[in-house]
């Protein structure tokens, strides 16, 4: 590479300018978000616009705040007493920390966790859990939701003959896809994924990644990952977090080929982290 840093930066800016023209609508708009665990600040002035029907990856070293940030988007941090938040997060025009309907927010913003966390119930009951809690009792309606959700998570063919048996008997990879089906069953707009493949073997990981790329046609996906290749494979845009700040947010190809910031480059090339 003979281009200087300044030249690369110019190229990047040109490409960015090009892309803003064909960009999709902003789904989640975060402005000056600060988060504290007691006295300890974990997020510093985070601002980011996440586009709809895209996969946005959050990368960064352990403890950089990427998972904490992800959990602000469906207010999972509310479960921790000592958390204080200021700034605003706007989803579809609503400031989610101003409007107090957490239940509604969480039906709109689904979440898949680091480790598969299916309940000790049958596969069917796991997927039907959310809709049932919303008050849907009609059997055929539930059957339809369960089938659609399991198909949507590309696991229907593997489990259709054992819907009534325990979900905990499935392999880790299958469980994680049922977790995705469980989230889909709520018909959310946005799905948050917190290192969804960190507990899976390479083949299961690949299946989940394939699933994510097909899912972005219907959902806005925000995924936290430790795995740089994964971010490169599945995401459209990538945000690089370091010590609670977003250092750089851009198209994934750019982040991985010619990042603006030296720290981003050091991280994605594996010099630290």
């Amino acid at each position: 590479m003979n281009t200087t840093f300044v030249e690369r930066k110019q190229i990047t800016e040109e490409i960015t300018a090009d892309n803003t023209q064909l960009s999709k609508q902003t789904k989640i708009s975060v402005k000056d978000l600060n988060l504290f665990y007691g006295d300890k600040q974990a997020l510093y002035d985070v601002s980011i616009n996440i586009k709809e029907k895209e996969v946005t990856a959050l990368i960064g070293p352990s403890g950089c705040g990427k998972s904490t940030f992800l959990r602000t988007l469906n207010r999972m941090n509310d479960l921790i007493d000592s958390v204080k938040i200021n700034g605003e997060i706007i989803i579809d025009g609503d400031d989610i920390y101003r409007s107090n309907d957490v239940i509604k927010l969480r039906t709109k913003v689904g979440m898949v966790f680091q480790k598969p966390n299916l309940f000790p119930m049958s596969i069917y009951d796991n997927v039907a859990y959310g809709p049932r809690m919303q008050g849907i009792k009609n059997k055929s309606k539930l059957n339809k939701i369960v089938e659609e959700s399991l198909r949507g998570a590309a696991i229907w063919d593997e489990v259709k003959d054992r819907l009534k048996s325990s979900a905990l008997g499935l392999s880790g990879g299958q469980q994680q896809r049922v977790c995705i089906a469980r989230a889909i069953a709520m018909k959310p707009d946005i799905i948050l994924m917190d290192e969804p493949t960190s507990a899976l073997d390479p083949i299961s990981t690949l299946k989940v990644e394939e699933l994510i790329t097909t899912m972005k046609n219907d959902y806005t996906i925000v995924i936290v990952t430790h795995n740089m290749q994964q971010a490169a494979r599945v995401s459209d845009r990538t945000a690089f977090f370091l010590s609670g700040e977003i250092i750089e947010f851009d198209e994934t190809s750019k982040i991985f080929s010619m990042p603006n910031d030296q720290r981003t480059e050091d991280y994605v090339t594996g010099r630290f982290g």
């Binding site: 039906t107 966390n117 000790p120 809690m133 919303q134 709520m186």
Partner: protein, 274 residues
């Protein structure tokens, strides 16, 4: 040398296990050996007569009453208290104090509870020496046990279950009712079994609150005699070891039946938890 140590330890472990089982077998064996001769249909289901040839049915009924009433009151109160402490209360000084109090309460000798029951339920509330006074006293005795075991089993429910459920847009109550309590159920039930054991085994507190009337209780407000109190009295007054042992057999059988049915119910409730 290491091998020798290993063998020595193994022998010790084996000996300890053997000792435990041996003690149990000896006691149960002795009770059955002494008491089995008296066990008959008439002995268990016959009415009591002071002459000594009657049965122990009034005491069996009284025992079952006290178990049922104490558990009917203590179970919901205990479980709700534990749920509050573990799931709702802000974990601060007050909760720590309540926890310390419940822990201390489990260690107090039952005779103290009995004295309290005799003063408060029997005299102040004017419930008299009665099954209800004894049951309320027993409720206080087993409450800490139920609260502690329920809290412990709520603690073992993985945090990921809560998060998974709440992330699906459920309320706290729905999560509690549909996910957390069912997962904690086996632990809660073992707490109830423990409490049943304490109720059946209790004698001093019952002696002071229900009295010793050896007749069929006409209602829960009558004074009556449980099996353990009866067993104590016949040993004390008549020195009738055979009769006491026969009562012991009946008690052991009742405990076994209750334990098995509790495990059975627990399995039924956890059908989903294969």
């Amino acid at each position: 040398m290491r091998k020798l140590k290993d063998n020595l330890l193994l022998t010790l472990l084996w000996f300890a296990a053997f000792l435990t089982v041996a003690v149990l077998v000896t006691i149960v064996g002795y009770i059955f050996y002494k008491g089995m001769g008296l066990i008959s249909f008439n002995f268990i289901f016959g009415d009591y007569s002071p002459s000594g040839d009657g049965g122990i049915w009034p005491m069996v009924v009284t025992t079952i009453y006290t178990i049922a009433i104490s558990l009917i009151i203590a179970t919901p109160v205990g479980i709700l208290a534990a749920v509050y402490l573990q799931e709702y209360a802000k974990q601060g000084k007050l909760v720590r104090l309540i926890r310390f109090a419940t822990e201390s309460l489990t260690g107090i000798p039952s005779i103290i509870y009995g004295l309290f029951g005799a003063v408060f339920f029997v005299t102040t509330l004017k419930l008299g020496m009665s099954i209800i006074s004894a049951s309320l006293t027993l409720t206080i005795i087993v409450l800490p046990v139920i609260i502690r075991t329920t809290e412990e089993s709520l603690k073992t429910v993985p945090r990921t279950y809560r998060e998974g459920s709440l992330a699906l847009g459920t309320t706290k109550l729905q999560t509690l009712y549909k996910v957390i309590l069912p997962s904690a159920m086996p632990g809660i039930l073992s707490g109830l079994i423990l409490s049943m054991g304490r109720i059946i085994g209790e004698s001093a507190a019952i002696f002071l609150t229900a009295g010793t009337v050896a007749a069929m209780p006409s209602s829960i407000f009558s004074s009556a005699r449980t099996l353990t109190v009866h067993s104590f009295l016949v040993t004390q007054e008549a020195g009738d070891i055979e009769l006491a042992a026969a009562i012991g057999i009946v008690l052991i059988v009742i405990i076994l039946i209750l334990n098995f049915s509790a495990t059975f119910i627990s399995k039924k409730l956890n059908k989903a938890d294969y």
